[in-house]
Structure formats: C-alpha cells, structure tokens
Symmetry: C2
Subunit: 345 residues, 2 copies
C-alpha cells in the first residue's frame, strides 16, 4: 500500500483527481509532465501517455491506465459522478473539458500540498544533503576571486561545483547579482563585471533526489558605501530575529512581522518588498509561507527559508537566507555557512 495515497484518502470527501505534476510525483514517484492520479476510496488509478507508460509501470499501489496525450478529453469521456479537482493547478480550459463530460466537479485546494509540507525522514535527509552542498559552495566561494569576473562566470563556477558535489540539478537558475544589479531581487547573472566595494548576492539551490535546497549569502568586494554596510547589519539582525520565531504552531504572518519590524524600525521597510520566506521541498516555493499574504501555521517537519533582503535602487542590495527545519526542539538551521559579512577580492 502507498502510505501517501492512504494519507490523502483520509482527507477526502469525494474522489480527487490529482493533476499537478509535482503532486503526482509526490504520490507515485512518477516524474511526468502529463499524468494524473484519481484517488478513490477503494483504489487509485494513474493516467499517463505513451511517453511515460514504461516508467509508470514501476509505480506500486496504483492501476496504470495508458491514454492518448490529450488525457483530460479522455478522462471526461470515461469518468463519471462527483470528483474533486485541484483548483490551484487545473487550468480553466481543462476544467471546461472535464465539465463538458458531465462530471460533477468540486474545486479543492492544497490537499496534497498540505501533506507535502510536513516532510518525513527520507525527505529531510535529501534536503539536508542539498543544504550541505550549498554550505560547501559558500565556503569555496569565500576563497574565490570576484573582482574582474562576470556574474555569469561565477554562476557557472557554482553550477559546475554543484554538479561535482553530487547535485542532480538546480532548484532555480543560480543568482549572482552584483553592484546595482543586486538591487533587483530576481536578477539573472549577466555579463556585468564585478567591481570593488560592491555587494554580491549569491542565491543557490540544488536538487537532491528530487528535493530542493535554497540558500543566499551576500559577499562584499572591499569597503562598502555606508548605506549598504548598514543595510547588511540590519538585514542580519532581521534574519536572526525571524529565525528565533520559527517554531511549531507559529503563525507565518507573525514570523514575517518579527523580521520586518527590525527593518521597519531601521527606516528601511520600503526596501524589503518581498516575503520573509517559503516552504521548500519537491518545489522550491511551496507551503508553508512566511509572508503577509498567505496565512500558514508552522508544524514539525516543515522546511522553510528565512530570507529578508534590503534593496537600494542604483546602489546595490543584500539578502541573507537560511534553510530551516521546523522542529519541536527549536529550528534546525541547515545552512550553516557563516552569515558574517565575508570580504572577497
């Protein structure tokens, strides 16, 4: 029996058609861009097309149904009755396709995502391995030359090191953002040559056994303008305040608030426009959330980032991000590389 499907089944009021590829992967192990699982009280069926059928045959505890590539048109023809669907994932077009088949459709949200938020030991082990790789990356970077190299060159050095250290891929494209570019929270590494007296934000995540890690450190290439030096100090205090608030039962909005207050008090609140953190697992952004917009309550086994940033347009930016397991005995910080400001040359 598949425990994850069994856990999901207990939460259902009607059969659920799981169509998010990540949720399908969580329930079955199958990695596919075109698959769905229908979880019913007495059985679970896995639908996919020819391309994934061979891999799908290895999945235990489900009945495999191979369909043409246009899965949802066929599901509309073959399924009947009352069925829940993943409203946060299914497109309106697919909803219409299913509805045209006469199904009684019930919009459900976050059922599998809720299960995914609490990691089991095997999942935590994979995430810990990814975080250990990140730690090694930042230690190596501290010994690297930055000034005179392009962001893209450094990003590739990081990517090569990730591979060498056993990562199976990237959680997201490596971010190396220097000088004024560091004022863009989501910058792509470019041909900009890193200069002296700048901050360089390095945001790296890798994939181990399907699970993501995520870590950010900000390096400095020589003496900083006072505003940026102060921003780093404020950001670090905010980050540590946020960390101490991570505990089972904590409210994500409140944890965000605790870190944000530090930055607000320093008069830099306007310069911290994103949320404090997010869950990390099969996806690099998933439940639970530490921000003002999506309420979450932390629980043991959650894995979250704590990552305040301060961005000064035209000048530069700083961000410090740890990856943390929410534990009953306090937060377990996986990204143990130093958060002291590291000067590189």
């Amino acid at each position: 029996m598949n425990d994850r499907i069994q856990n999901l089944r207990r939460r259902l009021e009607e059969p659920l058609l799981v169509s998010s590829p990540v949720n399908v992967r969580y329930l079955t192990g199958l990695v596919s861009s075109n698959a769905a699982v229908l979880v019913e009280p007495d059985r679970a069926r896995l639908f996919t097309d020819f391309r994934y059928a061979e891999a799908a045959r290895a999945v235990k505890g489900v009945e495999l149904v191979e369909l043409p590539r246009d899965l949802f048109a066929r599901l509309a023809e073959t399924l009947s009755g009352r069925i829940g669907f993943e409203a946060g994932h299914l497109t309106y077009a697919r909803y219409e396709t299913l509805a045209a088949g006469g199904l009684e459709l019930v919009a459900r949200r976050g059922l599998v995502e809720g299960l995914r938020a609490a990691k089991d030991e095997a999942e935590l082990a994979a995430i810990r391995r990814g975080a250990a790789i990140a730690n090694e990356i930042y230690e190596r970077l501290a010994a690297e030359r930055f000034v005179g190299r392009t962001e893209r060159d450094l990003a590739w050095l990081i990517e090569s090191s990730l591979h060498e250290l056993g990562a199976q891929g990237l959680s997201f494209p490596v971010i190396v953002a220097s000088g004024p570019t560091a004022a863009l929270p989501h910058a792509d590494p470019g041909e900009r040559v890193i200069g002296e007296g700048e901050t360089v934000i390095v945001d790296v995540g890798c994939v181990v056994e399907g699970y993501c890690s995520d870590c950010t450190r900000t390096f400095v290439t020589g003496e900083l303008p006072e505003e940026l030096a102060r921003a780093y100090e404020v950001c670090l205090r905010a980050q540590e305040a946020g960390l101490t608030a991570v505990a089972p039962g904590a409210d994500g909005v409140a944890v965000d608030r605790i870190a944000r207050d530090v930055i607000d008090t320093a008069g830099l609140g306007e310069r911290f426009g994103h949320g404090l953190g997010h869950g990390v697992g099969l996806e690099v952004h998933e439940q639970p959330w530490l921000n003002r917009e999506f309420p979450s309550t932390l629980a043991p086994g959650n894995v979250v980032t704590v990552e305040p940033g301060i961005y000064l347009p035209g000048l530069g930016g700083v961000r410090i991000e740890d990856l943390v397991v929410v534990g009953v005995d306090g937060p377990e910080v996986l990204t143990t590389c130093t958060k002291e400001l590291v000067t590189v040359h």
Copy 2:
C-alpha cells in the same frame, strides 16, 4: 509603440488579460513568474509585484502597475467590465478569484500563442544560433568515448560544452539514454554505465536569448542487435519523409501521418507512441503541432521539430530529431549534423 501588443490588439474582441509568463515575456520582454498584461484598445497595463518592478520599469509601451504578490485578488478588485482571459493557462482558482470580483470573463485560447508561432527574423536568428551550438555538440560527441561512462557523466559533458559555446541555459534537462533506458522516450540520465552494442539517444536543447533549440541524434556503441539496426533505418526513412512534407499550408496531422506510415508499414507502428513534432520558440513545446491530436496548419516562420522514435522495451530505442524553419522555398533544416548512424566507442 510595441508591435507585438499592437498585433495582438487587432485580434481581440474584448480586452485580454495575458497571464501566461511566457506570453507576458513575448509581449513585454519581462521575465517574471508573477506578472500579467491587460491589453485594451487604447492602452496596455503591466501588473507585477515588487520583485520584478525594477525590471518592469524598463518595458516600453505599457503602463506599469506594481501590486502585492497576490496579483489576481487585486485585479479582481480593480478591474471591471468584459475581459478575456487565457483559458489554457489561468488556473480555475484564479478564474474564481477574478469572477468573484464581478468581472464578465470570456475564455480565450491560444491568441498570443498563435502570434508566437510565426517567428520574426530576430527570433529566427536566436534559434539558428542555438541550433548551431547543438550541431557543434553532436560533432564533438562523435569523437568522445561512450563505453564505460555513465549517462550522467556524458550529460554533464554536454551541459558544460553548451555553456562554453555560449548557451544561456538548457531548453530541458539533457537526455542521454542508453541500452534498455533508451526505450523510455523521456528518460533522465542516470548512473547506468554505457555498454557495447547499444544505442544511445542524446536529446539536447539550449537557450539563446530566451529562445530554445532542440535536436536528437542516436549513437551506437558497436554492432547492434538486428531489430535495433532495422529500427534505426526505418526511423531515418520516416524522419526524412516527414521533413519533405514540412511546408507552408501543410496540415500537422498529415505531416505526422506521412512519417508514421513509414513506421507502420515496417510493422513498428506500436513502437512509435508519441507525436512527430512540435513548435519551438520561447517554449520548447509550443504551436504548431505535428501530431494526431492537436490540429495545426504550418505557416512561414514556424519552427518545428521532426522527430520520430522507435522504442523496443527491454532492448533499446532510436530517435532522430531535426529542428526546421518552415519556409516558402522549402524547409530550412537548422540541425545539420549527420543523421547517418555514428559508431562511438
């Protein structure tokens, strides 16, 4: 004035809310996971959150509106009247959010995707550069040792070479599938050590200026079992038959049919379970389609793959894929590396 937005506007019966990140990028150049464009007769507004606002300020021909991260809840509050939306992209949950705001919503499909299918010269130039990189990769591979190396090791060699040759990223994770693994059309490179007398499918695409390329060649490590050798010969004939059918006005289902007939006639039809090809551009799978399920008509400036495959479970597989521009003077094959069976050691 932004020509792409202007072209889109001419096709609209009501204002369109463009929410697919790729479509937003096509219209504005902005790369963002959380942005939308509302195209109205007399103006276009770009909505995004803090993280992308700095980059969005550089977009010409649109009014920038910075919103909190939960864009759609705010759009529901602020927009009114009759508005089209991208039914093939918008989730049912977001549809519900918008509908709750009292908007009169009209489901539209493929409007921007239809524009994207016909590439302009700048887009073709980027795709040609990507294809040229792929050609170089396959030439280098022909001189590499395969036997005794893992799939993962070869995949990394390819990834490193792509970077060195100027690619900005991968269109999709490199596929190196050897021996029985080659019977899985979408296999991840693993720790399998490549042996003698096997086929090795190498499917590679890279990104240049945001545009994808896509190419597959099948190598052989010594003498093949007769079934596989024959499969390669049949696959190549099918691929060339498909290529000759690529022309403006051609029906995608018919082009697929022409290649499929060759494989059917050889008695291997059951072993070619996927479509013949797909469009390639900002996405590696986009309009138009060459398969039995999604009707398309080819037009000048389309870029498509032609990629039959034959998969023999337990034994191995073959796939041969070219990237082709649909031209009025005939197909322009961008992937010019040899399709003769190349033996590696």
